[in-house]
Each structure stands twice: as C-alpha cells, then as structure tokens.
C-alpha cells in the first residue's frame, strides 16, 4: 500500500516535471515564430519582392500583397501568418515548383533527413562512445593518446569534405551506382534506400565521432573520479564490478551525449545532403536559399527550430525520468 502511493507520487512528480519542461519551451517556440516571420521583413527588397522572387509576375505580386495584407499593422500580419501555419497553410512555392503548397512538399524531405540523422547518429555514437569510454578508463595511456589524435583529426575534417572524398572513392573510382544516388525514400525501394544511406551516414558519423568521444571522455571521467568508485578501486573489487558501477552512474552523461549527438548530426546533415544530393531538409534549405524561395525558407526555419526544441525537450525529459534529482 505504501509502495503504491509512493509510486504514484513518483509518477506525479515526473508528470509535473514534464509539464514544466513543455511550458518552459513555449517562449522559445514563440521567439522562433518571430524569427521565422521576421525573415521576410529583413530582406533587402521587402516581403513582396522576397515572396514573389526574381521570376514573380506582376499578378503574383498583387496576390501576395493582398494575402499578406501589408497595410495592416504588423501584429495583425503576424497573427494571420501564425493562424495559417497552425492550420497547416505554409504558403505556396513560387520559383521551384510554382503553385504547389509547401505543406505537401515537406513530408518527404523531413523523412529523408530523419533517417539520415538516425543512421549518422548511430555511427557517431558507436564510435564515439567506444573511443571515449576506453580513454576514460585508462587516462593518459597510449589508448587515450590515440583516441585524442583521432578526436582532433575527425574534429578538424569538415564533414562536407569527407563526403566528397567518399563520393569520389566509391562513386567515381569504384563506380557503385548506389553510392551516388542519394535517393533515400523508404516508401519506394527499401534496399536501395538503405544502400544510399550508407555513405552519407558514414561521412556524418565519422566527422562527428571525435567530438562525441571527447564529450564522453569528459563526462565519464567525472563519474570515475567520484569517491565511491575510487573507494571500490582501493578495496580491490574486480574490474568488471567497477566498470559496471561506472556505467550505471554514467547513464546520465550518456543521455547527455545522446541528445547532443543527435543535435550535432542533424545540424551536419544539410551539408552532406548537398554533396550526395539527398532530397532532405538541408538540400531543400540550400535550394530555397539560392533561389530565394522565402515562403519555403520561413517554413524551414520554423521546422528546424521546432526540431531542435523537441530534441532538447526529449533529452531533458529523459534526464528527468532517469534522475529524480533534476525534477525539482
């Protein structure tokens, strides 16, 4: 009976914590909408020129002017825009695919980027956690030095360059068709998509593994120096017991690393997507930037901002689930 109420209390405190986290994310989200909305107004030509683009006809410009209601006060324009976004209306494409609603075009790139992020994060985490943990267990050993060299090397190499080299080696020299396709679309051809995913994911994962390793080492190093672990060492407990206890206490740092790596990889995807021609958010963003497709750019800013808020939120919540101390 007592156990049940205490369990209930635990769940309640957890729910409260999650609620608080979600509420505290709202101001940031609102500021992101400001940024995204404001993007049109900081353009050199003003919103109409921006939305219509270089190829916009007089007719299109007139319609945009009407839709935006440029004579209304700014806050009315903003609220109208937010209203549109909330009902799934992000505006229309003008340059890249004239007349197509942006909402329709978003699903596939989001999915492609999602898979690429997951695959890249898997590689970065596998390598990074392994190297980081090994060097944390034996600091200042040759292993630690080696991992440090690897970390610095991968930290210095830009992911887009790594991507080009991989593309060159596998696509140009070995002539693997899958290597250069970039077609990640699991609704069409699963095997081919998986193959296409390999090289971009490796480029991303390798380039970020060094940073992940350094953070892992730092986080685990702290755990290791906690007094009870030192105590277990001095007492001469078997090494596997020590490592097990370290990992048990290292789970929080690892969650930190996890959340951070996903953010890092997501951020890196767009350069790699450009190299491999993966039709993801990044390629979309760069194309929107180059063609000055502002409505799309606005939408993407909102999307990317929301994704980062979501990643931070999920990390925080996971933190709260694992460690009751952070809840208060």
């Amino acid at each position: 009976m007592v156990d049940r109420t205490s369990a209930l209390n635990k769940i309640m405190s957890l729910l409260k914590y999650i609620g608080r986290r979600i509420v505290s994310a709202i101001p940031t989200l609102i500021l992101i909408t400001f940024l995204s909305f404001g993007l049109l107004y900081i353009t050199p030509g003003g919103p109409v020129e921006a939305l219509a683009g270089i190829f916009g006809t007089q007719e299109q410009k007139e319609r945009i002017r009407q839709e935006l209601g440029l004579n209304d006060p700014l806050h009315v324009q903003y609220l109208r825009w937010v209203g549109g976004v909330l009902s799934g209306d992000f505006g229309e494409m003008i340059v890249m695919a004239p007349g197509t609603p942006i909402a329709e075009m978003l699903r596939k790139p989001l999915l492609a980027t999602f898979w690429l992020t997951i695959a890249g994060a898997l590689i970065a985490l596998t390598l990074g956690l392994a190297i980081g943990a090994l060097s944390a267990i034996k600091p200042n050993s040759w292993l630690d030095s080696l991992s440090r060299v690897i970390s610095i090397a991968t930290y210095s190499v830009p992911d887009f360059w790594l991507a080009i080299i991989l593309l060159f080696v596998f696509g140009v020299i070995f002539r693997y068709r899958w290597a250069i396709s970039g077609q990640i679309d699991f609704s069409r051809n699963i095997v081919f998509s998986l193959q296409s995913l390999i090289l971009p994911a490796i480029a991303l994962g390798l380039a970020k593994a060094g940073i992940v390793a350094r953070i892992t080492r730092g986080e685990l190093f702290d755990v290791q120096n906690k007094s009870f672990i030192q105590f277990e060492r001095i007492m001469g407990l078997p090494r596997w017991v020590v490592i097990k206890d370290m990992l048990h206490n290292g789970i929080l740092p690892i969650v930190t690393v996890l959340g951070y790596t996903i953010g890092l990889i997501f951020r890196g995807t767009f350069l790699v997507e450009v190299v491999f021609g993966v039709p993801g958010i990044g390629l979309f963003l760069v194309r929107a930037a180059k063609t000055q497709e502002y409505a799309l750019l606005q939408t993407l800013v909102l999307c990317i901002g929301s994704v980062f808020i979501l990643i931070n939120l999920l990390t925080d919540i996971l933190y709260g689930v694992l460690d009751p101390r952070v809840r208060s």
């Binding site: 500021l31 030095s145 080009i164 180059k290």
Partner: protein
C-alpha cells in the same frame, strides 16, 4: 605531446597568416586570369600543366582554366579575413552586450536580450548563418549610401551566429564581478553607469570570453568554408576555400584526386591549427577547464 601539438598549431597558423597577408606578393598569377592550352581551348585540369603561352601552373588549373595555386592563396586570404573579422566583431559585440546585461542583471533589458539569445541559440552552428545569408542574398544590400559586399553579408551572418554564446560567457563572468565592492564604491562616487561598465567592470571580466573566442576561430573557418561550399560565399571570381572545394566536384570524372584533396586539406589544416592553438591558450589561461559541449 600536448605542448608539441600547440607549437605545431601555432606554426601552421603563422604560416597561413603569412600567406593571407603576403599572398598577393608571391601568388604566381591573378586569381581571375584564364589560361588556355591552345587558342580557344581551356587548360586541361591536371597537376603541372603548361599553357599555350608557356606559363607553368604548379597545381594546374580549375575548370575555367584559372591557376589553382593562386586561387588557393587568395582563397585562404578571403577565408581567413572573413573568419577572423567575424570572430573579432562578435567578440567586441559580446563584450559590450555581455557586460551590460551582466551589470543590469535581472532588468528588462537583460531579460529581453537573454531571451533573444536563447532563441538564436536554437539554431546552432552554421545553420543560422545559412538562413541569414539566404535572407539577405549574396548580392550585397544597399543601406543608405553604402552598398554591402557579399563578404560583409557573410561576416554579419557569422557575427550573429557567434555572438549569442560569447555574450552568455561574458555575462556569466560579469555577474559575480558586478556585485563586488569596487563596483559599489564606483557607484557611491557618482560614477556614471557607462563608465563603470567600460572602465571598472569589463576589463576585469575578459579572460573567459577571450579564451572562448580563440577556440571559435576554428569554427569560424569551418563555417566560412561551409557557406562558400553551399554556394553562399563571395561572388565570382573571388576565390574562397569552401567555394574552391565545391567546384572540385566538377572534375570528378577526370579522376583528379589531387585537386579534390588540396582545398579540403587546407581547410582541415586551418581548423586543426586553430583548435589546437585555442586549446593551448585555454590550458595556459584556465588550467581547470573541462571540455564542454557548448564549444562546438
């Protein structure tokens, strides 16, 4: 091993600074000059090619027949100028904003600036720069009588990217100082707030932000090259390392690995040298530092 790495980093940085400053003196050709193998035919892309008029190009030419070595030298110059000036400007801005918000901690001004910074920090790395360059375009903007150059647009975008975190650092080191008695003493003497911040407070809070900005130089090179690589760099024919690297994809089918290797390697070397040097400076100034995720 650490010390040797730092020395190596310092040497590489010095060499690159030399290239950036004296590049125009020893670059063999103009970066925009197009060479031809024979009249009407551009130079083939290869190492050590000779032109119709007898010039020997050490690293060959790019797809438009321009001397690769000269473009690399000028490109390094562009990349370094953009990176260093953006970090410098961002640091100055951060010192001003950070010391003001730190001194006025808890005020409405502080609250607004910090919320804004939180929102900007949601777009980490060079994403924010990409978005801003996209919004402003790379053609240059007319602001009154002045027209900005594309390089300036990039610098602005990068300043926006770096300032938020540097400001946080500066604010963080200002707050404890702002509560110290010598600041109270200055207030008691009737010293105006601007003078307190500029002459009493800020000079005592600079260490952390300077450490952080040196570690940001590597990131700045990375971001500048990244923007250039995405086609959001300086306009043609101005060379920039990221732009040169992006164009190497045009030679893929010629299988000139050398050409793909060199620009990317140059970028990596610069990032490497700056990060190692930054780490070294930090270790000297702040021996208790631990690597943090905020540094990337």
């Amino acid at each position: 091993m650490g010390d040797k790495l730092v020395v190596l980093g310092a040497v590489i940085v010095l060499v690159f600074l030399g290239i950036a400053i004296f590049g125009p003196q020893f670059a063999p050709y103009d970066f925009a000059q197009q060479f031809r193998a024979s009249p009407g035919e551009l130079l083939p892309i290869s190492v050590m090619s000779t032109t119709a008029t007898g010039e020997r190009l050490l690293l060959g030419s790019d797809a438009l027949g321009r001397d690769m070595l000269s473009r690399l030298i000028y490109g390094t110059r562009t990349t370094l100028v953009i990176s260093i000036s953006s970090v410098l400007l961002a640091t100055i801005l951060a010192i001003v904003l950070g010391s003001l918000t730190g001194y006025l901690e808890g005020s409405l001004f502080d609250e607004i600036v910090m919320r804004l910074i939180d929102a900007l920090l949601t777009f980490p790395g060079i994403l924010l720069a990409v978005i801003l360059v996209a919004a402003w375009g790379t053609q240059g903007i007319e602001i009154g009588p002045v027209t900005t150059t594309p390089e300036m647009t990039i610098v602005f975008a990068l300043v926006f990217t770096f300032t938020p975190r540097l400001t946080r650092t500066m604010r963080g080191s200002t707050i404890p100082q702002a509560h110290r008695a010598y600041i109270k003493a200055a207030q008691l003497m009737g010293m105006p707030a601007w003078r307190i911040v500029a002459f009493e407070l800020a000079p005592n809070c600079l260490t952390a932000v300077i450490i952080q900005s040196t570690t940001y130089l590597g990131l700045a090179v990375f971001s500048t090259a990244g923007l250039g690589f995405l086609g959001l760099g300086p306009a043609e024919p101005q060379p920039e390392l990221g732009k040169i690297l992006a164009r190497t994809q045009e030679y893929f089918l010629n299988r000139q690995f050398w050409h793909i290797f060199i620009p990317g390697f140059t970028i990596s070397l610069l990032v490497f040298a700056f990060s190692v040097l930054g780490d070294g400076i930090r270790n000297v100034l702040d021996p208790e530092y631990r690597f943090e995720k905020a540094d990337v």
